[in-house]
Symmetry: C2
Subunit: 464 residues, 2 copies
């Protein structure tokens, strides 16, 4: 069977859907053994491709057929909307078995996205320890230490002996092997974090010694409310793989891994890009229902078309000028598009500088100064070029002056707005990626149309 | 002094540059003690802000003043262009001392960016082991396992005893504490990787036993040529913190950390966003010289303006139609912008699906089918809206039909092109982020202008 599948995957595009179709047929026929066997011959990327293409219903059936552990590892690679949907469709008992195989942070992520009744039904069926962890974790926002941390960590009392810890490690080796253990933590009687213990130090200490004697004291920890951006800076400053998370009472409640922070940041960057393109309200997959996809894209497009109409109304107001110098109509879309591009470049630079931490959101004057000077040069180059095109095409130097001058002036406007809008939005705690683009293009379009048509009406007798 | 600094940082924006200015004055006066003391009272984000604002020359002087270890940790947070510049300016002896405090992967990153003579001078001054590592590492591309790996790892011969390893760990505890050690590796006489040893297993084994008896056999490793994308998938499939890297002769040459892979991916996403906005040829910081910043942005803008002129020439060819129905000029920028937006949404979805691995670059037909249906719906909605606006404004139903029909048709064109261009570019191994936008907008503009003006000339007598 391996050969058959491989050959088919090597065939041209039209047949790539045959694998999910065959898999779907096996699942729908209820032939558990064959379906699982079929899945096992696929390599991990073909497996993901095939499972992601199944209908939501069939995908849920497949997950119910698999061992809980296999189902859980599938959930960890599937796109989030498919994960949520599948868990919602599963029988709570089956869902609970699968969810209990996920790391605690991901348990909370999944359950936090379900509706309350669904989440509650599953949590009830988890074992006590998992359930308590999840209940606490879902309370946290996704982008704070508490929402990113795992609750699988090792902590011992400060008065425990080295021998006790080594014995415990040995007895529970199987259980702990699923944990990503970098350090062992040491707590006092009230559960407050008092030290960190390296396995290395444990190894090299007399067995009768108390942990408090060999632990690293005053360990660095992060509060559970620490925000993703601050965590990113924290892990930049400290080369730790993970950091203990403490609540308001200084009690150790979890461990936030560097990897969790970096995954969240990478996810954020992808989001930024998608949202700047108007893919909002959750990510779109082409396997989703057509009307849902359409509605999500339209939610942004419909705002955008209104802004466009507002901007274009500036042209409508100067229709007489345009009628007199019809050649201007050719330059209007160019001025609109070029100003948008220049402005977006400034947006990208501001957002990068904010991320790197080399600019403060309050430094508006500095940004404007840096952008005005650059806008002057780039505006002169671009305006000169377009002015030349106008001159050559229509043989009228004044048309060149009007069009070129307008593009130059509007380039300066665009880079100033583009450079400063992300800083302002950041101060207002609005996501710059989402709002900067539409605001920018509407304003620069309006300004651009206004400038070029006003210049033109001022010089009308020289242009006709 | 701490108080003074804090108060100033709390002041409004204009004075934020006072801190770097004071720091610069101290550095330039050669007052090493005061400069270092000044830096130490700043918290890490203010330190980064201040140092990033220094002139390139002053920044290099500061690095030379600091202890090599402090200078190295500064290098790890500064933006890359500033790091490269500073290292280039430093005396090779000083640079070598600082570089030797960096982890090996970052040593190679920095030295790989220097010109050959500069890099050679520094490598010569590193200690033998570091120099050999760096020479090997700089040979690798940045986006393969060899270029991402660190060479600080622990490996022991398979015949070594547990006691030997424990003794070695104890004796070299200081040195090894700088390593990010998750596992200890076991090699044969030729340096080939034969096993992995967990500290936990070491801890729990009789001291006289040979490593080969307690190691995990047939360890999973990755080839040094494995590409970033495959590494990302590898770490998705395996919950390891790091993986041993082997060369073509199966020799253990380094360890690639999950964090290194994730950092590289996050960097890639940021790059994608910036490059999609035309910030190419390296990242821009506003501290860079004005002309450099201007040139970099212009390199993309000048291509874009040419594409814009080509697209707008379609309007010029239909000038007579436009002259007859001047109201069309108002709708041209709207059609251009809206089609661009719809197309960019499709670009974003395709890029996301490629990243998630739920689509293959060869699946063009599937993508087109999914986009045509969606384009039809969204086109109808947007076209209907704009047609209504035209009808109400000019009281001419035919104008509404022309404008609305054109936007609808062009929306379908735009989403089809937007959805498929990333797949095609991926197959051609061109970065979709860089090329998709300009290609898309030029084609959709040309089509849009052509469609609306052709429709209009066909119905000219009903429009005037």
């Amino acid at each position: 069977m391996a050969l058959r599948v491989t050959v088919r995957l090597g065939m041209p595009e039209a047949s790539a859907d045959i694998v999910p179709q065959e898999l779907a047929a096996l699942i729908e026929s209820g032939d558990r053994e064959s379906a699982v066997a079929f899945l096992r011959v696929l390599d991990s990327s073909d497996e993901l491709l095939a499972v992601s293409r199944l209908s939501d219903e069939t995908r849920a059936k497949l997950l119910a057929m698999l061992e809980a552990e296999e189902a859980a590892s599938l959930l960890q690679v599937l796109p989030e909307p498919q994960v949520i949907d599948a868990v919602e469709r599963l029988d709570p008992q089956v869902a609970a078995e699968i969810v209990s195989e996920l790391p605690s942070a991901e348990q909370a992520d999944v359950l936090g996205e379900l509706d309350e009744t669904g989440a509650h039904a599953i949590i009830e069926l988890l074992d006590q320890e998992d359930a308590a962890d999840v209940r606490r974790l879902v309370e946290y926002e996704d982008d704070v230490a508490g929402g990113l941390m795992v609750t699988e960590f090792l902590a011992y009392d400060q008065h425990a002996s080295v021998a006790h810890v080594i014995t415990d490690l040995g007895e529970n080796a199987e259980k702990y092997s699923d944990y990503d253990i970098q350090y062992t933590y040491v707590t006092d009687r009230l559960g407050a974090l008092v030290g960190v213990l390296r396995l290395r130090d444990l190894l090299l200490s007399p067995r009768s010694r108390e942990l408090r004697a060999i632990m690293i004291r005053e360990p660095i920890s992060v509060p559970d409310a620490m925000h993703l951006e601050d965590l990113a800076r924290f892990f930049d400053d400290n080369r730790f793989f993970g950091a203990p998370v403490v609540d308001e009472q200084a009690r150790l409640v979890g461990v936030v891994q560097r990897t969790a922070v970096e995954e969240a940041l990478a996810e954020g960057s992808d989001d930024t890009f998608r949202r700047s393109q108007g893919i909002v309200g959750g990510e779109e997959l082409r396997t989703m229902p057509l009307l849902l996809r359409s509605r999500r894209r339209l939610s942004w497009l419909s705002v955008n078309i209104l802004l466009n109409i507002i901007a274009a109304s500036v042209i409508a107001l100067h229709q007489d000028t345009l009628e007199a110098v019809i050649a201007l109509a050719v330059f209007l879309p160019i001025i609109s598009d070029m100003s948008g591009c220049s402005g977006n470049q400034a947006v990208a630079v501001s957002m990068r500088e904010l991320t790197l931490g080399v600019i403060k959101p309050t430094e508006l004057l500095r940004t404007l100064y840096k952008e005005v000077t650059l806008g002057f040069i780039n505006g002169a180059v671009l305006g000169g070029l377009i002015g030349l095109v106008a001159l050559v095409w229509q043989g009228n130097a004044y048309l060149g002056l009007v069009v070129g001058g307008a593009l130059m002036l509007n380039t300066i406007v665009a880079v100033c707005i583009g450079g400063s809008v992300p800083l302002l939005l950041k101060r207002l705690k609005v996501d710059p990626a989402l709002a900067a683009g539409p605001i920018l293009t509407t304003i620069t379009d309006m300004c651009g149309f206004f400038i070029v048509l006003t210049f033109a009406s001022m010089m009308l007798e020289r242009l006709v």
